[in-house]
Symmetry: C2
Subunit: 102 residues, 2 copies
Amino acid sequence: MRPYKHPAASELSLERVLYALSDSIRLEIVRQLAGVEVATCGDLDGGRPKSTVSHHFKVLRESGLVRTENNGTIHMNSLRRADIDSRFPGLLTAILAQHPTD
Amino acid sequence: MRPYKHPAASELSLERVLYALSDSIRLEIVRQLAGVEVATCGDLDGGRPKSTVSHHFKVLRESGLVRTENNGTIHMNSLRRADIDSRFPGLLTAILAQHPTD
């Protein structure tokens, strides 16, 4: 299985990060990942169809928020907290501090 | 001319605010409005076509970030800073503190 591509920390875009977080499912995934080291897609899908969740993980990866690594047939996801915090200081903390609204 | 509709502060959604700010033109408009009391669309359009800018103002109004009031034939826009700050403490400050990236 080919490794997933992830943007370098220097390539992260504020607008893409905000877009990635502008969906309640993706925001929930990021909230969950903020509390753990790694998680499988199954841990994070909330029982939603795989096709739906795959799309959301793709958006999260492309924004630089999430890293997905293959561990055999299992995909392990982690929040790129250090990269996001270094590029956009205080941003993720301020967003995750808000109560979910949708 | 009919007055524009604006969501009440209690109806604001985090996801809609993040979506509204996920576009570089809208982010620039909000940055500019953060520095002034009110501004016309012409002050904020950066020379872009009216149709493009109208759409962006609509998204900003619907998210609750911007209020547009008719003053005769002139539309005056202002940032709903107090409403946003009260509903999402620290959010706008953290986002506007970032350097534009796109």
